[in-house]
Amino acid sequence: MGQLLEVFDLKTYFFMDEGTAKAVDGVSFEVDKGETLGLVGESGCGKSVSALSIMRLIPHPPGKIVDGRITLDGKNLLELEEEEMREIRGNEISMIFQEPMTSLNPVFTCGNQIEEAIILHQKVSKKEARERAIEMLRLVGIPAPEQRVREYPHQLSGGMRQRVMIAMALSCNPSLLLADEPTTALDVTIQAQILELLAHLQRELHMAVIMITHDLGVIAEVADRVAVMYAGKIVEYGEVHDIFKKPGHPYTQGLLQSIPKLTEFRDRLAVIPGIVPNPLAFPRGCKFHPRCPVAVDMCQEAEPELRALASGHWVRCIRA
């Protein structure tokens, strides 16, 4: 499998009155064709910003991609004109969002919103677009798609809406799908359905997926590789089974311990103490050290570099 996307040293900062927030500060990863990369971390760690950076949808001002390289099939997306980038959005790279409730425009029909992308990128007639939209809705498992295309988002349930979002995202056969917490806002049963659908469609359409989530359980199910983010940086990166088996970073360990497991009984779930640091005032040294159970003095001094724990398994921790 060839490499589809390479993100190298991506830096996305937000410049605000109060200071500069380094939301993404030197993130590098790659995604192969057809592969699923899981991007994990607590909210505010920069995973969504990374995804939006790939789409080049960072709101400017205040946000700005200040450095780095995002290469898709050999093109550096950051060097493209806005117009060329638009050709890619929704076409080669698609994105689905966390909130199906608010991510669809309430004043247009579902069909209309799907067709819009099809007409834009595939240059087909309205009628063909409508047919394709119905087909897509059928593909994502919506019953009676001929009627649903004419309905407005508020007439659909949350799960249905997320399916519409997926249909919209996939309508132009993208080679890469960015799924930003696609299941967080849904019921557990529906979550599973959606994940299964995504996995199914991924195989069918042979596309790569970047699955962004704070839920390691989801990652375990769908991802091939995992990148764990903390405070704008990747702290651990590797094959999914490596990371689950031998988490190197104390943060990853913490995350893993906070997953409820059916096989174990514990009085309470382990939690990582403290809160995600304010991006305007990151701590010196290792950004995780204030919350780290194994931190030493060294951790306060300098930020550790990513280092290979095993082949293809990288960790940003001196203690690992």
């Binding site: 949808l57 929704g90 969002f97 991510s103 425009n105 004043v107 819009e116 990128h121 508020h154």
Partner: protein, 321 residues
Amino acid sequence: MWTYILRRIFIAIPLIIGLATVTFFIIHLAPGDPMALYRNPEISPEVMELMRKNLGLDQPLHIQYVRWLTSMARGNFGISFTAHRPVADILKEAIPNTLQLTFLALLLNLIAGIVIGVIAAIKQYSAVDHTITVSALFIYSMPSFWLGLMMILLFSLLLGWLPASQMQSINADLFGFWHRLWDRITHLIMPVFVLGIATAAGTARFMRGSLLEVIRQDYIRTARAKGLSERTVIFKHGLRNALIPIVTLTGLSIPFLLGGSVITETIFAWPGMGRVAVGAIFARDYPVVLAVNLIAAVMVVLGSLLADITYSLLDPRIRYD
């Protein structure tokens, strides 16, 4: 939909009757005799009494009220005390003129308000935005009568570009069609501007906020993620949603426009309802005052109904069944 409209109208009826009642009693309880108009040392008290009887003013108030209400219900607004002709005729002449003015002002309000608001929102925090915001604040804070006078001073008296008052040139009926149309347009510019600009400033302010709010929404991000151009994103996905609250605002601005027409028509000598109202109020021409108040209330009710219907057309989430 139709049932909804009917229901709304049905609800509005007691409201309007209530209003009419209130005005009726306010007017009749106010000091001052409507017969004062006719009082003249030459007229004997007996004749006065006869005239009073002719006008139905000799009856107790509640009888007068019932009579007035029933004749009103039959569309008979009575006869003006000062102009000696049916109030309905007076209103028939005045209402179209007022509608012309208010409709154009409403259009100005919407078009200017929306366009300027959108520009300000798109260029948020730019010099353009700041200029718009500051000028909107000033326009909003301006007394319309003063603005009107200043415009007359500048454009009519000093520069001589626009006519200072009236609906048409003095000899417009001698002009050809196009000349007359142009003449009417020049007469409309200042009154429409004065009447519409304050609400337009409000609309622009509101539009800016509304669009900025909408632009922050998730579905705008979705639209962008689809690869739509910024233009499509703002004008198709953003504007349509941002317009929804504007419709409500416009519905609410109708009473303001009607009230404003009183001032505007007075300043620009526009032969409309506002001027009829002021004249009638000052002259205590009770039938006219009552009728004008009633018509104004009906217009407001219809305006807000229209706004609600438009609202439902714009927002598929609202359906009146």
